[in-house]
């Protein structure tokens, strides 16, 4: 028997995911308005693949399927990826399914994976897509930023990592990092992936270090040569740094231990 407290002072996981989806709605509307039916098809396809992959994973691990799907983690990944690669279609559907199976379900489901499936799927899809420079998209950027601000006002996402990243990007404007700001991928990854607790440090200090490090690597690579896709670059950095999370946690938590 679980002894539940009478009062709940915060949203549960389902509610958090719903709010994160809701915050993506403005961006999604802008995308559909800009790109029409193609984006809609991608959205449907990737959502379907994500849900199927998640259900398959849960089934293979002999875990309840419906509550997990209702919780919306898989759907959130699918929507995020649609916004990142609206034209990828089938490739995107495949990568999101593989990423969810490998990076989410194989690690043991919710809260267990160290690497974020969205970042993983982005890398995976890049293997099959011809690299083409992504154009700046101020409309989408603005809609995304609005959603992220709302989320952080609601206390759903923690601001430390994205803000640290942003500060580094802003400070290095003179060396030519300005073009990053026009990339929706920067905002999407900063607001929805860098704020996911499982693949980022758990302490505020750790998150700041994580965000700053990400920012510095991003800016130096971006300043050296103009990579085709900011999203791809940022996703690789995030995956790379995720491996350092246990170390960052150990370092920043040590101070909080009472000896």
């Amino acid at each position: 028997m679980t002894l539940t407290p009478l009062m709940r002072l915060g949203p549960d996981l389902t509610s958090r995911n719903r709010q994160q989806l809701l915050a993506l709605l403005p961006a999604l509307l802008v995308l559909l308005w800009q790109q029409g039916i193609a984006a809609l098809l991608t959205l449907l396809l990737s959502s379907l693949c994500a849900l199927l992959a998640d259900a398959l994973g849960q089934g293979l691990r002999a875990q309840p399927i419906l509550p997990c799907l209702r919780q919306g983690e898989a759907l959130l990944s699918a929507v995020l990826l649609t916004l990142l690669l609206p034209q990828a279609g089938l490739v995107l559907g495949g990568s999101v399914a593989v990423a969810i199976l490998l990076l989410r379900q194989l690690f043991g489901g919710n809260g267990q994976s160290l690497f974020h499936p969205v970042a993983g799927a982005l890398l995976l899809a890049a293997l099959y897509l011809s690299p083409s420079p992504a154009p700046a998209n101020p409309g989408l950027c603005l809609a995304t930023v609005a959603g992220a601000l709302w989320l952080s006002w609601r206390g759903i996402i923690r601001w430390q990592a994205p803000l640290s990243l942003l500060l580094v990007v802003l400070i290095s404007l003179p060396i030519g990092s300005g073009w990053l700001l026009g990339q929706p991928a920067l905002w999407l990854l900063a607001g929805w992936v860098m704020t996911d607790g499982c693949s980022t440090p758990v302490t505020p200090q750790g998150r700041m270090i994580y965000g700053q490090t990400t920012g510095m690597i991003l800016v130096s690579v971006a300043a050296l040569g103009q990579p085709s896709s900011a999203g791809l670059l940022l996703a690789s950095i995030l995956l790379l740094l995720s491996a350092a999370v246990p170390l960052l946690d150990a370092l920043t938590l040590q101070a909080k231990r009472r000896m």
């Binding site: 009478l6 709940r8 549960d12």
Partner: protein
């Protein structure tokens, strides 16, 4: 709506107290049966026996136990293990009392009415009256037996937990009784500073107390502090006290202590808030041992309510068995509303959102702590601050994965306590031995005080005879003379210290050291005490002679003996000093003593206490 609460800083906790404060405190009907737990106490009645209201049913058998008194008259039906209103409803030995409906009371023993009651005597008296504090007796015996100074006494009226308004209603309706109780505690415990601290959200209680406490020397402080403001360590810090010199007492316990000290009433009931999913939220005064379900029925729970929560909105826990009985710590019973089905999902793994760490008032890392508590790694859990966790339940309430963080911490701390107790049980009799020691020390103190008072009266009588010649003063039977000598010595030393103190402040420290050394010595075995007493008498005689020679009238300070006019006092002191000197001269050779060692030890103890009190007072003066 809690869903729109900003978690980190601007969080406002809904208090839900309003509903239960609209009616006056009701009295619950006499239940048909009562179940009284016997944790830490030794049963002294048998099944089948008829008992009267207030009759002692069990006496404490360790320092943390409490006496149990019959809340009403009836028959002892059984003594057996019953589920208790504790997390996880464990089975514990309890007494089942079938009430006979007559509520026939036995006459109350008058409370010991001596203002000079030491704090240990008081603590044991309250333990015997079943008055509870946070853990065990209201005044912890180990604290009362120590000579730790009491700089800050906090009466804790914060009560910040959602839904609970039992203390609030108590302060509103029983303000004058509470004030009387606080005044008594102030007299007996003599804290340097006494503060009744109330949370700002109880305006009615504040005004009631302000009216009742007009003219009192202690303060009423209104504080606006977030939950868990009622946590004793946090409150101590808030009011600028240190853990070693501060005592924090709950108002309910203080009220019960007042009833015991004034009328000799043992604690047999408490105020319980009935709230949650009920029709008529209210507070009731319920007999200890009443069944939870019967009590909650008085508030008419909604038909859809699901189960009973014992405690408040955050620290409360569901009762697996709602026939369990309430106990001294049952401040609330809440009817649980059923959860919306979407949130019934079992606990999910931690998603490392960090919300628990952000909200934790003790600045812990609940997610790490939880991990170690789940793996039963108590060493690691302690490293992560398990003992600093105030068990406020905020982390559980914000965790999006709905992990049972609080339950886990509570279980682990219980485990930790059990482990520690087991370690102590390696020398099994120790707890009980301590307990006996506390009681013996109390008896010794009482005896010493009686002797000292009598001797002082005799000495005063003797000294009042103007023609008192040294020889005639020494004439009474030797033991009386010995006592006089001792008292004279104590007085002389006190006056000497006073002089020193007036001269320079530095001597206060040495005086205190002296006093503490004397106090420690006084607790040792009688043989050592006797030897010391003899030596002290000798030394005292010299001191007294000196003091008698050069003491000035201004040196007259407060002394443990009744105080005559200053000039008379002077006279008494000199004559007594002379008598003492002579007596000491006689006793100087190690001749067989005429006085039995025990008495000497007692006098030594009395002297030491007088000196200690004096030194404390001096210290107090110095600080103010």
């Amino acid at each position: 709506m809690s869903d729109f609460t900003l978690l980190p800083n601007g969080m406002k906790l809904p208090s839900h107290k309003q509903a239960s404060t609209t009616r006056p405190i009701a009295t619950a009907a006499l239940p048909a049966q009562l179940q009284l737990a016997l944790a830490g106490s030794q049963c002294c009645v048998e099944p089948g026996q008829r008992v009267l209201k207030y009759q002692l049913l069990a006496r404490p058998d360790n320092a943390l136990g409490l006496a149990v008194h019959a809340p009403t008259s009836g028959h002892i039906h059984a003594i057996a293990p019953y589920p208790q209103a504790l997390p996880g409803t464990p089975l514990q030995t309890a007494l089942l009392l079938h009430s006979d409906g007559q509520d026939e009371a036995q006459p109350l023993a008058p409370p010991p009415d001596r203002a000079g009651q030491s704090r240990l005597e008081l603590a044991i008296f309250l333990q015997d009256m079943g008055v509870t504090g946070q853990h065990g007796p209201l005044l912890p015996l180990s604290w009362a037996a120590s000579d730790a100074p009491l700089e800050l006494l906090i009466i804790n009226g914060m009560e910040s937990e959602p839904y609970i308004s039992a203390d609030d209603m108590l302060m509103r309706e029983q303000a004058s009784e509470l004030v009387a109780a606080i005044q008594l505690l102030q007299q007996r415990l003599r804290p340097t500073r006494l503060v009744l601290v109330i949370r700002h959200d109880k305006p009615a209680a504040i005004s009631a107390l302000r009216t009742a406490a007009a003219g009192q020397t202690w303060q009423i402080e209104v504080r606006e502090a977030p939950y868990p403001a009622d946590d004793a360590p946090l409150l101590t810090r808030l009011l600028g006290g240190t853990a070693e010199t501060t005592l924090c007492l709950p108002v309910a316990g203080v009220h019960a202590a007042g009833q015991a000290m004034q009328h000799g009433l043992p604690c047999i009931s408490r105020i319980v808030t009935l709230s949650g999913a009920v029709e008529h939220a209210q507070n009731i005064r319920a007999l200890l041992g009443s069944p939870a379900r019967e009590l909650l029925a008085l508030a008419t729970p909604h038909p859809y309510s699901a189960g009973i929560i014992h405690g408040g909105g955050l620290r409360g826990f569901t009762l697996a068995d709602d026939s369990v009985a309430i106990h001294q710590h049952s401040n609330g019973l809440l009817a649980a509303a059923p959860r919306p089905s979407s949130s019934v999902a079992a606990a999910q793994p931690c998603v490392r959102c960090g919300d628990c760490a952000t909200i934790c008032p003790s600045q812990l890392q609940p997610q790490e702590l939880y991990w170690h508590c789940q793996t039963q790694d108590l060493m690691q859990a302690q490293d992560w601050g398990l003992t600093d966790c105030s068990q406020c339940g905020l982390c559980s309430a914000v965790c999006p994965s709905q992990l049972p963080l609080l339950d886990s911490f509570r279980n682990s701390s219980l485990q930790l306590q059990a482990d520690q107790q087991q370690q102590q049980a390696a020398d099994s009799a120790r707890q009980r031995h301590h307990f006996r020691q506390f009681r013996q020390e109390r008896d010794k103190q009482e005896k010493a005080q009686r002797l000292a008072e009598r001797a002082a009266q005799q000495a005063a009588k003797l000294a009042q005879t103007p023609s008192a010649h040294p020889a005639s003063a020494a004439k009474p039977e030797p033991s009386a003379a010995d006592k006089q000598a001792a008292i004279a010595a104590a007085m002389a030393r006190a006056s000497q210290r006073q002089q020193h103190h007036q001269g320079q402040t530095a001597t206060a420290a040495t005086a205190e050291q002296d006093a503490r050394a004397a106090a420690i010595a006084a607790n040792r075995q009688a043989a050592i005490d006797a030897a010391m007493a003899r030596a002290a008498a000798r030394k005292a005689a010299q001191d007294a002679a000196k003091a008698g020679a050069d003491s000035s009238p201004s040196a007259a300070g407060p002394t443990p003996a009744p105080e005559p006019a200053p000039d008379k006092q002077e006279l008494i002191r000199t004559s007594m000093a002379r008598a003492a000197a002579q007596k000491a001269a006689q006793a100087a050779p190690p001749a067989p003593t005429t006085m039995d060692d025990d008495k000497k030890a007692l006098i030594a103890a009395a002297m030491a206490r007088a000196a200690a009190r004096k030194a404390e007072r001096d210290d107090g003066e110095q600080e103010t």
